[in-house]
């Protein structure tokens, strides 16, 4: 990626007590050299481990919670300004949203701002307390919104409930969001790669794209697909292709040459329904290359190959 590549931004949502801070601590502890900047908007009982913040050269910024009429969004303005001015420049931005935040609203900042790129919305659900919290009518709408907006849902505290209960919570989640990736976890243990898709980005920057297709290391959650070709695409056409690919393609990243303008490149990233196509300034690329992941058993090849085949033959 070029130096001016936008900062990948992940919104971590979830109701109070769902285990967001535990996950943040886990991700910082296993950051594998990535500098993760955490923007904290939730001040629950559990703080982020101070020693982790220092040891990983990442950092935390706080996002004051006063986003209603009185502050006119001033806090969000300041928080994102601080993030974008942060030195040294982080590799990942992780926003720990407040328990009552609408994650889609926060994610929209990353979609709008050219210097940010939405990596995705991750929502944690507390398997033990979800149904109780949801039965409070004042909370129902926001809890459901957090689930419908997510591309990755982590069902946490699975060790604290029996199988039957876990299954019924899963069913509730599926009724709200059929397409998100749903993973179970105990004590917020989910890998950084699942959240940040770092191996996908790395794979994209390497030359041996094809190998990736059959790689099964790390978690067995995903299957992968990749593509490399000489010809270009039109940005609008790319959006159309990805819309047709649908929600079973969990994540799609790539670079492509503009079909109409030689040596003009675009980056593309799809996560869930969000498709971001932006100008990509570089001279290090030729042709077009894409990588994608989906849940195991998706048959990505069957979905994507026919769509992209059109161009290969042309």
């Amino acid at each position: 990626m070029t130096i001016n590549a936008p900062l990948p931004t992940t919104v971590l949502a979830g109701f109070l007590g769902s285990g967001k801070t535990t996950l943040v601590n886990h991700l910082l502890r296993h950051s594998e050299g990535q500098r993760i900047l955490v923007l904290v908007n939730d001040f629950g009982s559990l703080p982020i481990d101070e020693d982790l913040i220092r040891s990983e050269e990442g950092g935390t910024l706080t996002l004051a919670n006063g986003c209603a009429c009185c502050s006119m969004g001033g806090d969000l303005f300041e928080a994102f300004s601080a993030v974008l001015d942060y030195e040294p420049r982080p590799d990942q931005l992780l926003i720990e949203a407040s328990g009552v935040a609408e994650p889609a609203r926060i994610a929209n900042f990353a979609r709008a701002e050219p210097d940010l790129a939405l990596n995705g919305i991750v929502t944690m659900v507390d398997a033990e307390n979800f149904e109780v919290a949801r039965s409070d009518e004042r909370m129902t709408a926001i809890l459901e919104e957090q689930i419908t907006a997510a591309q990755l849902i982590i069902l946490n505290k699975c060790d604290l409930v029996d199988e039957e209960k876990a299954a019924s919570v899963q069913e509730s989640i599926r009724r709200l969001n059929a397409s998100a990736l749903l993973v179970s976890a105990e004590q917020g243990q989910v890998s950084g790669d699942t959240i940040f898709a770092t191996s996908l980005s790395k794979a994209l920057s390497k030359t041996d794209l094809v190998k990736l297709q059959h790689s099964h290391k790390h978690e067995d959650l995903f299957e992968r697909w990749s593509y490399e070709g000489k010809s270009g695409f039109k940005p609008a056409e790319m959006r159309e292709l990805l819309n047709r690919a649908g929600s079973s393609v969990y994540r799609f990243k790539g670079l492509f040459e503009d079909l109409d303008k030689k040596d003009t490149y675009w980056s593309v990233h799809k996560v869930g329904p969000y498709i971001d196509i932006a100008p990509y300034r570089t001279d290090a690329v030729t042709g077009s290359r894409f990588v994608a992941i989906g849940v195991k058993g998706t048959d990505l090849e069957d979905i994507l190959a026919p769509l992209f085949k059109v161009r290969v033959d042309a």
């Binding site: 109070l16 004051a64 006063g66 303005f77 900042f109 050219p114 004042r138 959006r239």
Partner: protein, 544 residues
Amino acid sequence: MSEITVFKARKIITMNPANAVVTHVAVKEGRVLAAGSESDMAGWGDYILDSTFEDKVLMPGMVEGHCHLMAGGIWNFTYVGYQDRIDPDGRHWPGVKTIEEVLDRLKQIDAELTPEAPLVAWGFDPIFLMDRRLDKTDLDSVSTSRPIAVIHSNFHLMTVNSHSLDLVGYDENTDVDGVAKGGNGTPNGELQEMAAMFPVMRRLGIDLRQLGRTEQGIVDFGKVCNRAGVTVAADLLNELPDEDIEDMRRITGDDSYPIRLASMMNALSQPPEETRERAITIRKKSTDKLRLGAVKIVTDGSIQGFTARVRWPGHYNGAPNGIWNIAPDQLKVLVSCLHEGGVQMHIHTNGDEAIEAALEALEGAKIQNNRPDLRHVLQHVQMADRAQLRKMKQLYVLANFFSNHIFYFGDKHAALTIGPERAQQMDPCRSARDIGVPFAIHSDAPVTPMGPLFTAWCAVNRLTESGKVLGEYERISVSDALYAITLGAAYTLQMDDEVGSIEAGKRADFAVLEEDPESVDPALLKDIEIWGTVLGGFKHPVPQ
């Protein structure tokens, strides 16, 4: 030289019922030595008689119990609102009534700016420019060489020109919520909500909170207050980092600074215990002109933005319920923690469900700890019904009503947000008085313009912008309204022992009026001209 000054006035309204109207007030060491007739002054020794106000009316300096510091700095931007306004330096800005008038004003400012400066305007009210919406083509006619942004009056929308769109790369490929597109599939210049506006604001340097942090912004805020006859103003949300507190102490400490400023720390910027400790720490940094130590908690959004939390039957037009800014269960924890520590809370609650949650939290806190020393305040508290007011009375919780809403948003509330019945009971001053809930009334400037006499006019007349009376029953008398903008508001700031009335021992803070608010036609209360103020015995005439 005498240490005593006696101000002689046509009439002095003291707000002290035992000595309600007098003609003279003696001031010594910044405080009221005596209020009465000239002969009542004699026994205190030699004095200088100041007759500046002999044909004017004095009342206690007005107290704006809920506004924001950025009400001053916002004038850095060009005003393009519908109503006439006067900026902090006294420049009169006539309201602009059509898109053409908006563009003419922008062209005039464009000609005055340096080539590299962005052109930023505020106060634009699309409701009154009904025929069509402002778009990028309109603004391109002003300039294509500099970025232009027109902030709408609700601060949730802006319209920008093509230059601004290019700066942030918004084009036909952009797929972002809030970037509105025209018929041809390209952005039309209208940006909705902060996320879509942020990239433009960042590149044009439109930092709203910063407007309330700069020295110029704080000085201008003082000027805005002075023009409105305000001597005490409460800034209702501030992060209050140490360096800002130092700046505020220095700026307000200057003799020329015309107000006492209370600033409420955001209680949601750190965990509850840290908020409590910080509030207690910064309280000690208070001076006679800067009051710190109380906190603000925002629980829901705004009624006009459909983001307030409302109880059944919900919004009149069927819009979904609003947003919580803090979950009710979390609010309980926070409120108990702060109450136990002796921290005064100002809790923003617009909708009745938010009011209910706040009262639940306060009830729990008060069961756990008896703190008769604290007066907590619900801010805005616009949809409180009489049962909730009875509960407030029972819990001894005060109200600060957003009475300006009746004029600015009342028509919309009746037609769209909450419907005619609940709209006519909004900001229920009369019911609060019936039931015995102490209350103040406020402007929330810059959301609506600061002017306690205007706010009092709203509470007295309850007229909407279209001229209808909204809820005749909830009207209050002029004397009750004058109480609300002086002692009533001082009481919500726990400063009523110090300001809010003119009586021996209190600070010599006065508003100086050209007419008598107790005898003018109540319909004209808002039109009374203000000469200026007196703060701690020093005269602060409105600069001409």
